[in-house]
Symmetry: C2
Subunit: 309 residues, 2 copies
């Protein structure tokens, strides 16, 4: 089995959507990425930090899913990173109500020795300097590095962000962030500019409108599965990244064709994530359900066409 | 060859986009639908009205494309419908600067005798009572009726709009309008409600995010072709409808499978429309170019997937 290492946050979220609100529940980029990737046949490890207030049952969940959490540092007298947000009625925008960095403020991730040659490294959304420090620890130049980031770092740490972007193979970024990063409105143009910054593969996430994959002039478009209701969009992007990385961990080839499939798996996993609050749906998700939805994805998008003109 | 009748506006547009602005150029829903459908092997007729100020070269364009314009009424002492708009930088929204209905105000479309049994009728965006009056003239109940409409009629003539919606087979509508019409945010839910209103097929146009087709619980999603630049979005929805109807005119079967292909043809035609101002790109469009772009659409969306879980 190949190895996948995930660096990101393990956190508490409190979410309010038009469907209701939660108390502090399990959240964080590494939690979603890890739970999503755990659907695949891969050895994965999370590198993160939590406080003494983090409950054992959340840690047990990761263990139950076969995720190595020996590098999730527990700072006994610290508090876990906490984020709270409220979604607007259209679910496409949200207000952040609370951000308490807590133990995340001084987080210095240490990649376990046995994962330094992992097949795949996912750098979840964190300060880009912290992401770079993880890259410095990796020992095998053939590791596929997938970077996720957000507009906050473009506003507050652009130089360090450009530095880490230069060093990765794949970037996942949402459409508005791609536009902000490049100053290009056209996503085709934006992807070109990001290619020039370093990453060979650019995945632009468009939320309910799906995702675009770019590589050397090749393009692939995957829709999001149209859903009857979106209950809570939190973590959908990270769940996408987890499914994307999980698929590639199991894939022999790493090329445009396997990346296309990885996008479909990522989209499929993300379509489950939004059906319930937080990680709830991912926790109970069965592989049969994923297979059925992959078929739905294929039916949704595939067509035969003859040129009749 | 089967017959296609198109009822809508033939107009002057003046458009301003971040790329420049035009004087009064050829516009109107029927113009775009007709030019787009003229790429197919079909006998088509436009039913519309213009004023004495409408130049012969525009009429000649339709004739050159083999479109029957004997039912485009010319009111010598009237003025042609005129619309002017300015697009915002993101091209997704626009301000209407001028709307002069002119001869459109008293437009009473008369379907030519020989087209009353047309295979396909496209009701371009017009007052829903006028759209209904066209339906009253059709003689063959097997005619496939495709309706396009917009939010203006939801605000100003909802009862008459619901009346005509009840009588059509296919509705094309954009995402925000589908939400407004049904009060449902989820497009899956919105499509269900619209099915209940009458149409067996619901096409939801999402602009740069493509289109969704719904029919009896079946769904199909087509992306828009990601473009390096969108020069002028005017007429893209009508061009989609023209390609959609044009394909179906040539198709033997009218069912979900042929509708899927029609959506792809419609999206392909629309992707050309936005590359230049107004109808310019459609006027010069060659069938080889369409074929090449159909292949690009297929490459953009098609994938093989194995269930590896």
């Amino acid at each position: 089995m190949s190895k996948l290492v995930i660096v990101g946050t393990v956190a508490f979220d409190a979410v309010e959507t038009p469907y209701g609100k939660t108390d502090k529940i399990l959240g964080g980029s590494a939690s979603y990425i890890g739970l999503s990737a755990s659907q695949f046949n891969v050895n994965s490890a999370i590198v993160s930090v939590v406080g003494g207030d983090f409950p054992q049952n959340h840690l047990n969940l990761f263990l139950d899913k076969g995720i190595d959490i020996s590098s999730v540092e527990i700072i006994k007298d610290g508090k876990t990173f906490f984020w709270s947000g409220r979604y607007h009625n259209d679910m496409n925008s949200r207000d952040t109500l609370v951000t308490e960095l807590n133990v995340l403020e001084n987080f210095q991730p240490i990649v376990p020795e046995s994962y330094k040659d992992a097949k795949i490294l996912v750098l979840g959304n964190l300060h880009p300097a912290v992401q770079s420090s993880v890259l410095d620890q990796m020992s095998d130049s053939s590791t596929l590095v997938i970077l996720d980031t957000m507009n906050f770092w473009m506003d507050n740490a652009l130089d360090e962000l450009l530095e880490v972007i230069k060093r990765v193979d794949v970037i996942t970024i949402n459409d508005e962030e791609a536009r902000q990063l490049t100053g290009q409105h056209s996503l085709v143009q934006a992807a070109k500019k990001i290619h020039e910054m370093g990453p060979e593969y650019v995945v632009i996430k468009k939320g309910e409108h799906g995702a675009l994959l770019f590589n050397n002039g090749n393009m692939f478009s995957a829709p999001a599965l149209p859903l009857e209701s979106v209950f809570d969009p939190t973590g959908a992007g990270d769940t996408f990244a987890g499914g994307f990385a999980g698929f590639l961990s199991q894939s022999e080839a790493i090329n445009f064709e396997s990346m296309k499939k990885a996008v479909i798996y990522g989209s499929t996993l993300a379509s489950f994530c939004v059906e319930k609050f937080g990680t709830e749906r991912l926790e109970s998700l069965k592989s049969e359900e994923i297979c059925r939805r992959l078929i739905a994805f294929k039916e949704l998008t595939q067509f035969e066409i003859e040129t009749i003109l």
